[in-house]
Symmetry: C2
Subunit: 329 residues, 2 copies
């Protein structure tokens, strides 16, 4: 009677299937058995609604079916969107995802990497700007936006192509004097290629350009000062601006309003990321859209792919342009 | 030599501390031992950098130090902010958080509840609008925004007070003819109290009001029609609108622009939630702000509090008003 009400065990499955206990164990752990045995065991598992004890399984197979995502936060809408799509991609593959909002805390980041090295999670997907983070060669780790070493795959959008596309788009829309505005981490990372791509695009289209690059510690006011200095007789000398993120585009458009410059009539703005109002309504500005669902899928594929002799060190995924009101088209 | 390079075991800790193996086990599992023993064991753990095997520990103590968050997605900025603060509150208490973006999938939600019942996670915090979700009485579950039964604590902001505050604020700002616009789930839930609170506020201030409530299946266009029908000689008959979310406020303000009504000069708008541009810049509209960090802390406190004889069935946390450009103040 007792067996009827308590959870079925592996022994119950073996009895139901009419096979040895070792056969059930092999099936549960994904090891090869004869096809007819596998079917009988799976039928019995289904019939008894047998649930694998994942802790016992974790001890045996050294697998946890759990991956961790290190991300600064889920408040920034780009990070929030990455977290969502990576979560969906992992769950589709029957993996659980531990979320670790790091707030850029290097100790916390290192702690989670240690968890992966101790097999407490099967792997880590990380977006980190921590230059001191140590990820050993054989740690299952996929990095977003920043290369962490030759044996750690890095996934990003094609930032160079994105910068180039922004320049070409501004040129196509009639701009002749443009500028690139950047703030954020000065650490060597993929998003830094937006600048080189933009320069390349300006040169190939023969439009003149300036750069205003602020490092981590510089206050936003330096952009205000830069723009003010480029206003002569009430008119900004730039007719197009490429801002490194949609967030910066928003701040710049507020500044331009205070300086009595109309967007997009006087100056056209293109941002980067593809952020939408409330996550899914309209684009906040004209923008280079990052392919977030594709970035998420690629990260998860590379993390869980065990039989690859050589993982690609850098994967760049294609970007696209979207109109969002801050350009003429 | 081998012991030097492989991970230290509990035996190594016992040898280093000069105590019995059982003493180390008690310390690791938080059971009482003499103070001097505890200190010696902790010193040895520290010196050897001994790492507790959390799977073995999970099997023994029936604890996983893991909680799951069920939330529709992290794309919607209100959900994204809840996910962030709950994540921080759990990690502060040395808990890992499994994120489960449900996309309102009832099967996925039930699967995670089953995980909690099988002790694969220590508990669940869930924001779900799934009326069929079965959470048994003794499951460690804390619900956000919707009561799931007498023994499952529910945490929400004070939605009634929020509705009342919106009405009072509109009255204070000079409005005399107002309306409440609501869409979303018609399921019995805490946010539905915004309506009753708003009515109460209008009645106490003696201003006239109308309600336009759309159920799940109604298209947004019904709001457009409702507003169009209330325009006479080019002028909207309402001078104030309370919209059930900031998201709806945004859509309504776009509609009003198409109908040639100026916000806030002709009609003032108040939303609900407290969403900011890019997560942390300015408010998207004048709004009733939900205390998200406090909601997150309360959920985690109630989930992890084991010794409470009676958990509170419903906790309502105070809201506040914030100016965001869609009102006169």
């Amino acid at each position: 009677m007792r067996r009827e009400t308590s959870a079925p065990t592996m022994k119950d499955v073996a009895r139901e299937a009419g096979v040895a206990l070792g056969t059930v164990s092999k099936v549960v752990n994904g090891l090869p058995v004869g096809e007819s045995y596998r079917i009988r065991v799976e039928d019995a598992i289904h019939k008894l609604n047998y649930q694998v004890n994942s802790y016992a399984q974790g001890l045996k197979a050294n697998k946890t079916y759990t991956a961790a995502l290190l991300i600064p936060n889920t408040i920034n809408p780009f990070f929030a969107s990455l977290a969502y799509y990576i979560n969906i991609a992992l769950m589709k593959r029957h993996y659980r995802m531990i979320l670790c909002s790091t707030d850029f805390d290097p100790l916390l980041e290192q702690e989670y990497v240690t968890m992966a090295q101790q097999n407490k999670v099967d792997g880590i997907i990380g977006l980190t700007y921590n230059p001191t983070l140590i990820v050993e060669e054989n740690t299952p780790f996929v990095s977003i936006d920043r290369s962490m070493g030759p044996h750690i795959p890095c996934v990003a959008c094609d930032n160079f192509a994105g910068g180039q596309l922004a320049a070409e788009k501004l040129a196509d829309l009639g701009c002749r004097n443009v500028a690139f505005l950047r703030n954020g981490s000065s650490l060597d990372n993929e998003p830094n290629k937006r600048k080189a791509g933009f320069e390349n695009g300006c040169l190939s289209r023969g439009i003149s350009y300036e750069m205003k690059i602020l490092d981590d510690s510089a206050p936003y006011e330096e952009f205000e000062q830069f723009l003010s200095e480029h206003i002569h007789n009430g008119k900004l000398s730039f007719d197009g601006l490429f801002c490194v993120t949609d967030r910066l585009t928003y701040l710049i458009s507020e500044t331009l309003r205070r300086l009595n410059q109309r967007v997009p009539e006087d100056v056209q703005l293109i941002g980067f990321d593809g952020i939408r109002s409330f996550g899914d309504i309209d684009y906040r500005c004209s923008t280079i859209v990052q392919p977030v669902p594709e970035i998420a899928e690629m990260c998860v594929e590379l993390l869980l792919q065990e039989n690859m002799r050589t993982k690609p060190p850098l994967v760049c995924l294609p970007v696209s342009y979207a109109y969002g009101g801050t350009t003429l088209g």
